[in-house]
């Protein structure tokens, strides 16, 4: 998994990525990292009871989320995917509204734990805590896309732990049978909380399982945002062209404990964590940007300061936002009139609110 500082040759142009693309990818990765550092600070201050870290997964997430088309494709992330959601359109403030459980939390209005992402407007499917349950949803959305004749794609993200669940197997099998326009992305950080990969499976690479479902699998360096992007770009094109699903395994590492409730010293040595940090995806990407002359240390420092200020502002705004009304807890058990996602509604971003299914007829 070890990755050395990249050579100076240009690896991004051939991928169709401009210098600006690279810079905004870098900014997104760094924003996620800064939000992470902030949320742990807030946790220590007693202002955030529960934190789910992303640090270490930024390249895998930004690289695999980037090839999707906003406003058209669908994102089915899991709790670790802050950076996926930032790519999809979440703002730092949105992140902290969720962290503080505020009424304006776009995911759930303060109902769910932090990092349980969702936004119909942005095409991010609401997520739950039970591992792997979202993967069959992705297959179903992909089926609907194909059925409706869209040329859109849905991607789902999950950890290595999720691959052990029956739902994971059933979802991939269904997608393979119908050659659905979807990509399955495994963020393999080698642990399911404390359970090491060796106790989760008897294979070196989880991507080998794709063969059993009749579609290709690939394993890439998840610390390398360009490698992650390249693999995903191919998979998305494959899906969009009607050739079917792909399973992409991105090898990465979780720098912090599983959550603010975890103590990873019980199952990982500090040396192991330090070793992994040498491949910090943001560090590596920064080095690449410098090596190809897109930026320099001074510019990068400027970006960090600018983003840091933004994140601090987001924290203040979110902190001062209103809490949900206690009585609001009884709402939305069932639909409240046609304003809510009902028959005819769709996860597609931009789709207007659900129409009643009474208006039947042709699709669209």
């Amino acid at each position: 998994m070890a990755t050395r500082v990249k050579q100076a040759e240009d690896r991004h142009s051939s991928l169709g990525l401009t210098d600006d693309d690279l810079l905004s990818m870098y900014r997104t990765m760094l924003t996620a990292r800064l939000c992470d550092e902030q949320q742990f600070r807030l946790n220590r201050q007693g202002r955030a009871p529960f934190v789910v870290p992303v640090s270490g997964h930024e390249a895998a997430q930004v690289g695999t989320a980037w090839p999707l088309v906003r406003g058209k494709d669908i994102y089915v992330p899991y709790y670790r995917d802050m950076a996926v959601c930032l790519v999809a359109g979440f703002t730092a403030k949105d992140v902290f509204l969720g962290l503080f459980g505020k009424a304006d939390d776009p995911s759930s209005g303060g109902r769910q734990m932090p990092a349980h992402w969702g936004s119909r407007r942005l095409g991010i499917i609401t997520g739950s805590s039970p591992i792997a349950t979202q993967i069959p949803h992705a297959s179903g959305i992909a089926y609907a896309m194909k059925y409706r004749g869209e040329d859109s794609v849905v991607a789902s993200w999950f950890g290595d732990g999720a691959t052990s669940e029956g739902d994971w197997h059933e979802a991939l099998n269904f997608a393979g049978i119908h050659k659905l326009p979807t990509v399955f992305v495994c963020e393999n950080n080698k642990y399911a909380i404390s359970v090491p990969l060796s106790k989760q499976c008897a294979v070196e690479e989880l991507s080998v399982r794709a063969e059993g479902y009749g579609f290709p699998g690939a394993t890439v360096d998840g610390n390398d945002v360009l490698a992650s992007y390249e693999a995903m770009k191919e998979a998305v094109e494959r899906a969009r062209s009607g050739a079917g699903p792909t399973l992409i395994e991105t090898n990465c590492y979780r720098f912090y404990p599983h959550t603010s409730d975890d103590d990873d010293r019980t199952y990982r040595s500090r040396e192991e964590v330090e070793e992994a940090r040498k491949n910090d995806p943001i560090l590596l990407f920064g080095n690449y940007l410098k090596s190809v002359g897109i930026t320099d240390d001074a510019k990068l420092e400027g970006v960090r300061e600018e983003l840091k200020a933004e994140v601090d502002r987001a924290v203040d705004e979110a902190w001062n936002a209103p809490d949900p009304e206690p009585e609001s807890a009884t709402r939305h058990v069932f639909a409240e009139g046609s304003g809510e996602g009902g028959p005819g509604g769709s996860s597609s971003p931009g789709d207007d609110e659900a129409t009643s299914s009474k208006a039947s007829g042709p699709l669209g």
Binding site: I74, P136, H137, G140, I141, G166, D167, S357
Partner: protein
Amino acid sequence: MAEKNMVQTIHDTLHDEMKADDRVVVLGEDVGARGGVFRVTQGFLEEFGEQRVIDTPLAESSIVGVAIGMALHGLIPIPEIQFADFIHPAFDQIVSEAARIRYRSNGDFGVPMVIRAPWGGGVHGALYHSQSIEGFYGHVPGLKVVIPATPRDAKGLLRAAIRDPDPVMFLEHKKTYRLIKGEVPDEDYEVPIGKADVKREGDDVTCVSYGLMLHHCLEAAQKLQDEDGVSVEVVDVRTIAPLDKETILESVKKTGKAMVVYEDNRTYGPGAEIVATIAEEAMLDLDGPLVRVAGPDIPAMGFASNIEHFYMPDVEKIHAAMKELAEF
């Protein structure tokens, strides 16, 4: 107006709904070429094609999970679970996902789908082709559970379920499929979800039931009327959740005596909530004990005819309990 049995009615209603709205798709095991093991989707594959009539792999969790995804993206999926006994692998997708997606997203997403499942015993199905599951799913906020007992209700409730913006579990008692016939209006109509129905008017005793047992109750009531001139009001719950307390309480307040009949295991079963509701809200109107007639607390009915019969509440058992209550 035509007389049909339950399975024919469900087939025809589902057919008309698919014809009228191409967002409606059915998926499940053997729903295609086989037309479903109970023939509910017979001829659908030929008429609507395999894109809308989907033979799935043998995997219930994904049958429901994939349907949820379809519902999230503009379709109205109607997953069929071949036997209610085999819905258990999908428990997580139903309870954690389908029933909670609207709530957890603060109303942002909805899951319009109808989960169909044939349930119930008396068909030599033994432990795994006879189960009642409404006791589990009635306890899940965010999920609606309906059980039609007549063809007329089956059509109206199925149409209402398909038009409902939220997930509805539609339970069809296997034994009633061909046994129960009745007039079915030709015109389009809906039977509102959440409304019980007085299937027989009476003054002396209220008998609350649903599914196959409802018909046993009606027969027992008639017997009691004929033999002892006792007039029993029989209330068909129709919707397990949300439960229509009003109709039940109204009847009990009128008769002053109440019994609940269900096929599910007695303890912690659906009848417990109905009895508890009556006890809490109509105790002072009662002039007799509250009575439950239900399946015994054993894992299931057996295959051998006599042990299966031992399990199932039947007209005799119900009539005996009715008579005793009436004479109290």
